[in-house]
């Protein structure tokens, strides 16, 4: 939400500012600041010559992202290849890095490779706290945002509460076949009676999403968090994911 500056032009400004502020809010998405910084850095390096040759900085930004991925892939290949010329030992006083882990070498997790369930749904002081598990069913390790934007949805896919966009720390390396877990905290839903059963939706960086239903062994229904006040905002927050 934006505060109007104090050099008012017209009394109508405050109303328009509210409209525009609310309207613009939909552009806010969860981000990975470290990845954006890395892409900007890589893109800026490539732009020094190529940007002049190939056009807009927007297209160069995309090129930067591609180059960043390619550089990481080449680095990973070099580490794996080991004995190639790229891997020739060099005289150095620097400590030699151990070629066991190359953060970023994996691609971002695709929603289609992930499956999740709600394993618990507990109530406390006007809140509902869901415990969730997510499984990487893909063929390889991928990078998962440690904090995915959550939404509480009803059986028809209608969003009851959606988290505002927020910053994410560095992604989590998510090995194939493994599980991550975390908790989602919700409060103050004052809308209409939702269609059961409720589910959770988690958004990946590319705005694809996965939906989580109650695990088969959860015998009780998932109810929305109770209304604590019409004037207060509904809330939904997710804690950082960690490997099980």
């Amino acid at each position: 939400m934006t505060n109007l500056p104090n050099d008012q032009i017209d009394p109508y400004e405050s109303r328009l500012a509210r409209h525009v502020g609310d309207f613009a809010e939909q552009a806010v998405r969860p981000i990975d600041a470290a990845a954006i910084a890395a892409a900007a850095h890589a893109g800026a390096r490539s732009q020094t010559l190529a940007g002049r040759l190939f056009g807009s900085s927007a297209s160069m930004a995309r090129l930067g992202v591609v180059l960043a991925g390619a550089l990481v892939a080449v680095a990973a290949f070099g580490v794996i290849a080991g004995g190639s010329n790229l891997g020739q030992p060099q005289a150095s006083n620097e400590p030699v890095s151990t070629p066991t882990n190359v953060p970023g070498a994996a691609a971002a997790c695709a929603a289609g490779d992930l499956a999740g369930v709600i394993t618990a749904w507990e109530g406390a002081a006007g809140h509902r706290i869901a415990t969730i598990d997510i499984h990487n069913g893909g063929s390889g390790q991928c990078l998962l945002p440690r904090s995915m934007r959550p939404a509480l949805i009803d059986a028809d896919g209608r969003a009851l509460i959606v988290a505002a966009g927020g910053n994410q720390p560095a992604p989590l390396a998510f090995p194939a076949g493994s599980y991550v877990t975390t908790m989602v905290d919700m409060a103050n839903y004052c809308g209409a009676e939702p269609a059961s059963p409720l589910k959770l939706r988690l958004y990946l960086d590319d705005q694809s999403s996965l939906e989580l239903s109650a695990a088969a062994n959860l015998t009780y229904p998932l109810d929305p968090p109770p209304c604590s006040g019409q004037n207060a905002a509904a809330e939904i927050q997710i804690q950082a994911l960690h490997l099980k």
Binding site: T2, N3, L4, P5, N6, D7, I9, D10, Y12, E13, R15, L16, A17, H19, V20, G21, D22, F23, A24, E25, Q26, A27, V28, R29, I31, A33, A34, I36, A37, A38, A39, A40, H41, G43, A44, Q47, S56, S57, A58, M60, A61, R62, G64, V65, A151, I153, G157, R158, A159, L160, I161, V162, G165, N167, G191, A192
Partner: protein, 179 residues
Amino acid sequence: MIDDEALRTAVARAAAGDEVAFARIVAAHHDDMARVAFVVCGDVELAQEAVQAAWQKAWVKLGSIRAADRLRPWLVSVAANEARQLVRSRHRRWLRETVIDGDAEADARAGPDPAGRAAELDLANALAGLDPDDRTLIALRYAAGLTSDEIGRLIGMTGGGVRARLARLLHRLRKELHE
């Protein structure tokens, strides 16, 4: 939110090539830039693309920012310019998806009152009728909250000129929004 002193330090380090410091600036300002870019271009994905391009420019030119309090206005104006260029380069009309049913997130955002959705669509249509330069002014003023003098410095106009142009835009939008 990053405080002023930490921001000054982050800017100095980022300008020297510190990627971690740059990421702190990204975390502090990305959302504001996305809001501004969206008001200019009317498309969430295009807005995110514009902001990524703006960060690339910021990486190169951050060292030119001498005062920390100039950083935010500068960043949002770079994002606005990138969004404007993207719209123009693709010959795109400023267009929102006006899905009446089934847009669950929009429903949730607007709340149970359908008037909220209607007001959002009215504003979207009103903005769609503006020139990209005018949408940039609206975005810098009402999405980023910049003063007319700050906007003037960024776009090469006087503060008075900005106020006069905004006054005309306010009159037009008020009429179109029936307010």
